[in-house]
Symmetry: C2
Subunit: 242 residues, 2 copies
Amino acid sequence: MRYELYYWPSIQGRGEFVRLALEDAGVEYVDVARLLNRRGGGIPALMRFLESRSVGRPPFAPPFLKAGKLLIGQTANILLFLGPRLDLVPKNEASRLWPHQLQLTIADWLAEVHDTHHPISGGLYYEQQKPEAKRRAAEFRAERLPKFLDYFEQILTRNPKRTCYLLGKAFSYVDLSLFQMIAGLRYAFPRAMARLEPAHPKLLAVHDHVRARPRIAAYLSSPRRLPFNQEGIFRHYPELDG
Amino acid sequence: MRYELYYWPSIQGRGEFVRLALEDAGVEYVDVARLLNRRGGGIPALMRFLESRSVGRPPFAPPFLKAGKLLIGQTANILLFLGPRLDLVPKNEASRLWPHQLQLTIADWLAEVHDTHHPISGGLYYEQQKPEAKRRAAEFRAERLPKFLDYFEQILTRNPKRTCYLLGKAFSYVDLSLFQMIAGLRYAFPRAMARLEPAHPKLLAVHDHVRARPRIAAYLSSPRRLPFNQEGIFRHYPELDG
């Protein structure tokens, strides 16, 4: 199976959670919108699925994954599908609900990160909503960021297996996603994270373990890993970092 | 299997999407936090799972469902689990990804509805974020609400089976959730919806079909159906309705 990932070509964004899973598994995939337009890539390749009326099951937004005839949208849903196929989650159904639940909680967390710089509308520039962003980011740093960090630190603390895997026994795509959250938050909120990190040693252990996995280490130092930037979900605006 | 639903006892909120599935299926369930405190209910019953350190797989927030030994959080994840058990979704895996994808898109939509009245923080009162709410709600009415409505209308339009079911052949929990969205949006944004409804006849057909299903009709006229109110996710503030 050759997977085709469709996502905005210039940002990590939500697509990165899928890229990390595909990279860690070492499977063949095409990041379609990052191919040249004349080679069937670019944003037109992506818009075709969003705009063509002939797509029976259109995604609402990128990322989406083409796997044979299946077209799968919503980041957490893509990982739900890929997990057992990439050996990044236990195979039985009951054991898959829990990592999916964690992934959905990460999705909520990520949406809140996005809204720190776009509290009014994703259709406006940051510069058009700066006072509101400053207020929302302050609430995020003070209330929500610690709440999410504490939650995942607790999951690791309650883990009877004493590993640095969120699921306990087995490494999973949720560990990859948690790595991405920590990396992104460090980029966007370096001061807030510096304050909060000492109380969350187990999260940092997950981050460091993932970063050192051979395929992930190779990916992170390759040109396939886009840098964080001011167009993505994690953005560094010093005025939002308190 | 007797299901136990845990959700805030005074609002429809996210819990309502699970209640509708359980009610339509006609299965036995307990809405635990709506029992009296002295009968093991109330908010303490709910907080126990959120706060006790002995819960191995704690949910981040309500709703969550107890099904035997399983404790399942995140609304869409609960419906992913319940769907095949309540005969509210096709049984094979590939056919379950698509309704789940739609459900996750509804979850995103619902979060945006919530943020129209709480654009800065869920920890502050509406009255503490009114100017921001007015701005966000205007963007929501102008851009996001039509986009979501158009998307689901398109799904129904592309449906080769010409039914009023989102999945085509079979009725599913996504139809129940779409009903809840339309009902809630009519409560919260009656003027905006009156303007938009004529262009979305298929969505209204789903709404009307669901409302007339015998078990749903019985539920809606029972005291088990909480009324919409100003504490829930759908709130009617005339100043946010343009």
